[in-house]
Symmetry: C2
Subunit: 533 residues, 2 copies
């Protein structure tokens, strides 16, 4: 497939009059062809209008039809995987093996949502049957289910050019729920975005769905994103990126005449607590795992462990030493783009200047466009006094924080802002000695990990990838796993309706054989048949 550099607006191709930009090879800063044309305001408006029009049809598609679309997208991406991966490698400097894994994950994610909507119970159908004899007034028949909300805008993320991008988790879950999607491509991997975008566009066409179900817009700056978030036909936004970018979108959305929800995943430092027993028994092993976790993918994961708390004792010395020795094993990294490289360098520089922080080790990159890994250390008192030490360092760096007693550890836990994850390394004895630690951490994060590492986010039914502000804009939601479908829906209820005009999910006979709550009891039985599983 030839990359055209033009936006995808339904079944149409974007114009050539917008501002032009190019992707860049992160290894040497050279530009990649072709030119990409930013969408104009008129094109944004057109994409939103097409999406709104498509919603009338697509919002009422069956789970079977939506599943077919998602499966077709997955198959098409697989069929062009070589080209996708080759271009993505050039645009992101992520290794091929990682990109192969991410492609597989993206397709698995699409199929997971296909499975969820084909099965159908996700709609949370509830039926309260009528009681015409009830006194003082008859009880009406009331039935509710989750319904899609309308056009959704998804911002592609820089650090997952596939799994959190054009056909990534937000797109898959929004399409599964029945919402048309407009993707704003991330400007640092536009070619990858276009290839995947064409796969989605072709799938929509081959499934006989209206063109507005999907659009992909290019934009070099913030104008396209701003126009999308302000468009009155857009009903929700999904975003993965910086705290500044996410917060700007949140303000835009809140100031609209009709405010909408922004699901922004912004930043997270992912605290790790190594309790005394675990440190004694497995200190060196934890050090090896931690090194792998914080340097994985050049530390460019939202779940990278960025602060590590442990008691200041003899066991900790061996742990720290092991971690320091591991650092040169991967001496240098090429980051995703020039902006991220420069942010990482500047956060390292300012952390180094902090008088309360000691640089334990760092590696020196030999190439101009590379960065090194860094290991910092501070103590609990300084950490508690200085909130900036809890900020994310996006890149292959982490910070050790020594505490001197249990009370200090609990004070640190209580002082934390919202993060995506928190990790505890401990023995059963440790958990008995810190009985409140889990209870405090579960209020601070979306996922608590025990004796593991936070990187590697399993795509499954129970995953929660989302945490309280400021890690995300709305800690009541996940961007990974099948529960992500609940971002893009709202419950609607139907009172006194004739069976024939109700959606299949709500009909007496339960033709889809889904799980429903009937008069307060979960059942797959039709109405009128006694339940019993």
């Amino acid at each position: 497939m030839r990359i055209s550099g033009r936006s995808i607006i339904g079944f149409q191709e974007g114009g050539t009059t917008g501002e032009v930009f190019r992707a860049t090879r992160p290894w040497d800063g050279t530009q990649l062809l072709p030119d990409f044309v930013s969408a104009t305001f008129e094109e944004v408006t057109l994409a939103a209008r097409l999406a709104h029009e498509a919603f009338a049809t697509y919002g009422r598609c069956s789970g079977h039809d939506k599943g077919a679309l998602l499966r077709k997208i997955a198959a098409k991406i697989e069929s062009m995987a070589d080209q996708v991966i080759e271009r993505a490698e050039q645009e992101t400097a992520l290794p091929k093996v990682r990109l192969q894994g991410e492609t597989a994950r993206t397709c698995a994610q699409l199929r997971l949502f296909a499975q969820v909507v084909e099965e159908g119970s996700w709609t949370a159908a509830r039926i309260d049957t009528a009681d015409p004899e009830r006194k003082p007034i008859p009880k009406p028949d009331i039935r509710s289910m989750l319904r899609p909300i309308g056009p959704v805008v998804v911002f592609g993320a820089s650090n997952f050019p596939l799994a959190f991008s054009v056909a990534g988790g937000d797109t898959a879950s929004a399409l599964a729920a029945g919402n048309p999607v407009i993707v704003k491509a991330h400007h640092s991997h536009p070619g990858t975005s276009e290839i995947v975008g064409r796969a989605v566009q072709e799938s929509v066409r081959e499934c006989g769905l209206p063109e507005g179900v999907f659009s992909l817009l290019f934009g070099s700056g913030t104008q396209v994103g701003t126009a999308l978030a302000q468009n009155p036909l857009v009903k929700a936004v999904g975003f993965t990126g910086s705290r500044r970018g996410g917060r700007a979108l949140m303000y835009l959305a809140a100031a609209r005449p009709e405010p909408i929800q922004v699901f922004a995943e912004m930043s997270s430092t992912n605290p790790v607590f190594i309790l005394p027993g675990a440190m004694r028994e497995r200190g060196e092993q934890i050090a090896a795992g931690l090194h792998g976790s914080f340097t994985l993918g050049a530390g460019q994961f939202c779940t990278k462990p960025g602060m590590v708390f442990f008691g200041d004792n003899a066991d900790a010395v061996a742990f720290t030493e092991k971690l320091r020795q591991a650092l040169p094993s991967v001496p240098q990294f090429t980051m995703l783009n020039a902006g991220i490289t420069s942010s990482y360098r500047s956060v390292l520089a300012s952390r180094k200047k902090d008088p309360a922080v000691r640089l334990l080790a760092e590696t020196q990159p030999s190439a101009e466009f590379s960065v090194g890994a860094a290991l910092f250390e501070t103590d609990a008192t300084s950490f508690l006094a200085n909130p900036v030490l809890a900020d994310e360092m996006f890149g292959p760096a982490t910070q050790l924080v020594r505490y001197s007693n249990c009370a200090e550890l609990m004070e640190i836990a209580r002082s934390l802002e919202g993060h995506l994850t928190a990790t505890i390394h401990g023995t059963e004895q440790d958990l008995r000695e810190f009985p409140d630690l889990i209870a405090v951490l579960e209020n601070k994060v979306g996922r608590v990990v025990f004796n593991g590492f936070p990187t590697g986010v399993e795509v499954c039914h129970a995953m929660v990838h989302g945490g309280p502000v400021p890690s995300t804009s709305d800690g009541r939601s996940t961007s990974v796993g099948s529960q992500a479908i609940f971002r893009w829906v709202r419950p609607v209820c139907y009172q006194g309706f004739p069976d024939a005009v109700l959606s299949e999910e709500l009909r007496d006979t339960n033709p889809l054989a889904i799980w429903r709550m009937v008069d307060g009891e979960l059942t797959r039985q039709p109405i009128g048949v006694p339940s019993g599983g």
Copy 2:
């Protein structure tokens, strides 16, 4: 019980230094004793701190213990119902029989939530079991459930002094979910609020729960509410009131360093569509029902039908005439308070001045503090051209809108903003002739009513009382029915945890025998036992 006029701050009594105000008898404007003392900023801070502290315990209470609290509150309210109703009648002018019904509804609501949390499946537990053999990397054990979010602030509503007030739906659902609650009493029924508040306070004490589980703060102006919404320990807000008030809270919440969700129910005009067949067959009967619905409770329901659309034909003449004739059957009404009375008078005055609107009938109140009912009429062209004609008139007034053809009807439906409800009166033939009407309306409202009236909101599992902006601040939620519990929770997942430290909901043995999603299948079986219902 003597009414003290002092706020309830945990187990403590508010001070006497704040600004003082009194309740007023709506019939004649006379003041009722005693003086009520507005909470100070320090008292707001104290209530929030107590709530935050209580959350550590209350947020981990079992469903059984939370159920016991809710049931005790219901029993206490019933035991003091006479005093509550007597005071509420004086403060709101609502008839005793209505207040008796509302008391029963409030207690039924508390018990519905008790039942939901005692049963426990509402927590949506999900378990994805581990697979250590999976390639390329082992699959971890991941378990998620819904958890409470922390202190919730509830603003009492003027129009439901019991069911949407101190121990109303928001309080009941927030407590059920495991969140401490701080209620800002509505200034127009402070005595009713205090009596119910003491019932809750005593229940918390008798259940042996920490005092911060509940506080009730008085305030004559907006200061107390503002301070509550801005307090960093507060994690969500529930509000029922004006669009201006709700919007102000939304802005406050969005501008916080840690933005929080505001569930504001603001205004709704609840469109009614009478299709030609229904008008022909049942026009007079619909007119009688409509009159009852729009004048019920002096039209002071958020679900009052405020605009009625029908075809301009001979059948409509009889319908309109019937409605006009019904008007004098209840000639005058006393509204909830002076502010609402004056707003109603001014919205009537401006509607009367609108050249596109005709006053078909109105009744003249004989008493100074009363208001009359009013019936307006306009045509579809004027309605579409003039958005102000879709605004809520809070009080016993409604507006008929004649359309001349199907296309105009559909244009009206598509032009609607978000409302709580939409109603269709139709025959099966009508529904065939307007195939898209339901599909358009379900995107505009939370509840679609067929051949009924929107007033009367059933408290049940399938109810959705909430609609898109501007009817509420967040159309993905309901304030009535058992699904309201989902306002106040977020999912949290636990990776690789030993069974013993997990909540009962997530343990292998499923000791609570709740429904859980295990590896994608709903089951009540323990882990390791094949499912089968």
